[in-house]
């Protein structure tokens, strides 16, 4: 965190290399957050560029009241929400249902204990299946699950990034998991 503040301070003084280091450090995090929320690799890449462009132009307005990563996540969420709002006007939909083959694959992988035991091809397909499950959720649940499960943020950090109370973080995560459970109902046989 201290390192981020130092880099940002250097960048504010005109050190372009400091900004490059910040981009290098956070590009994967930002990209994966967006990809998990938006569900499209090309769009995630474009939005990630927009996020860093905003950081570049707005760095001067960052007062350091929160950590740099919280500020960065906040910009990322806002950019994702802009994109989702744009989509609402356009009617873009991604497939969210699972076919039998996908259901079996997910069951098999979850049945095996080792993550590395799955072949690379299956791993790639599995990523698509997980993303499909995410795409099927309402946007606020997608965002909160991304921060918790993909980025591993604490409830406190999520509350700061999403500007919601801790109570709401708990309830939204609970509901998000319930929704996801409904979508993945084939994994949970009745009466088991």
């Amino acid at each position: 965190m201290e390192e981020d503040f130092e880099l940002l301070a250097k960048f504010k003084k005109g050190d372009q290399h400091a900004f490059e280091l910040l981009v290098r450090k956070y590009k994967t995090t930002v990209y994966n957050t967006i990809y998990s929320i938006i569900g499209n690799a090309q769009e995630a890449d474009d939005i990630a560029q927009e996020v860093f462009l905003k950081v570049y132009t707005k760095a001067g307005s960052f007062k350091g009241k929160s950590s740099f990563s919280t500020w960065l996540y906040r910009i990322t969420v806002n950019k994702c929400l802009d994109e989702l709002r744009r989509r609402k006007n356009k009617i873009i939909s991604y497939e969210t249902g699972f076919n039998e083959e996908e259901k079996l694959k997910l069951k098999d992988v979850l049945a095996s204990r080792e993550k590395d035991s799955t072949e690379e091809l299956i791993q790639n397909e599995l990523q698509d299946i997980i993303q499909k499950a995410m795409n099927s959720l309402p946007e606020k649940y997608r965002i909160i699950l991304t921060f918790k499960e993909i980025e591993g943020l604490s409830y406190n950090e999520i509350s700061q990034v999403m500007k919601i109370s801790l109570g709401k973080v708990k309830i939204w995560l609970f509901r998000a998991r319930q929704k996801l459970k409904e979508k993945l109902a084939f994994l949970y046989p009745q009466g088991e």
């Binding site: 994967t28 990209y31 990630a48 462009l53 979850l110 918790k148 499960e149 993909i150 409830y155």
Partner: protein, 144 residues
Amino acid sequence: MSCKKFRLLLSAYLDQEITKDEQEKLLEHLKTCSACTRELKYLKQMKRIFLLKEKKEPQEFFETRLFARIRSKRERFAWRAYLPVFKKSILAVLIFFLLVVGLLNYRNFLYHRPAEIISDLLIDTEIEDNFEEELLEIYYGPLG
């Protein structure tokens, strides 16, 4: 506490975000409630699904593309760097202009009103000439 409330706690328990007191109550409940125990198992499985999700890298030349965009943006808006200086100059010119306009108007205001009053009192030159002719006629009889 009802099962419904324990379900809410289960989600937070999974994330290690509950108090010690809540945890004790939850673990006590799980000993006797098979439905909540099964729910916890499902939730753990779901968490495992996300652990399977691998971190992806952005597309190729992410930084190169980003810095090219930054450069082009900087060039396009290079004039903005001079904006603070421009702003001050524009402000100075504006103030000077307003002062000049204000001063002129003030002078007009001062001298315009008396001029208006005088013009009201002034007799038309034609009437004045006629009046003069009439006077001469009175004194010296019809002219020419």
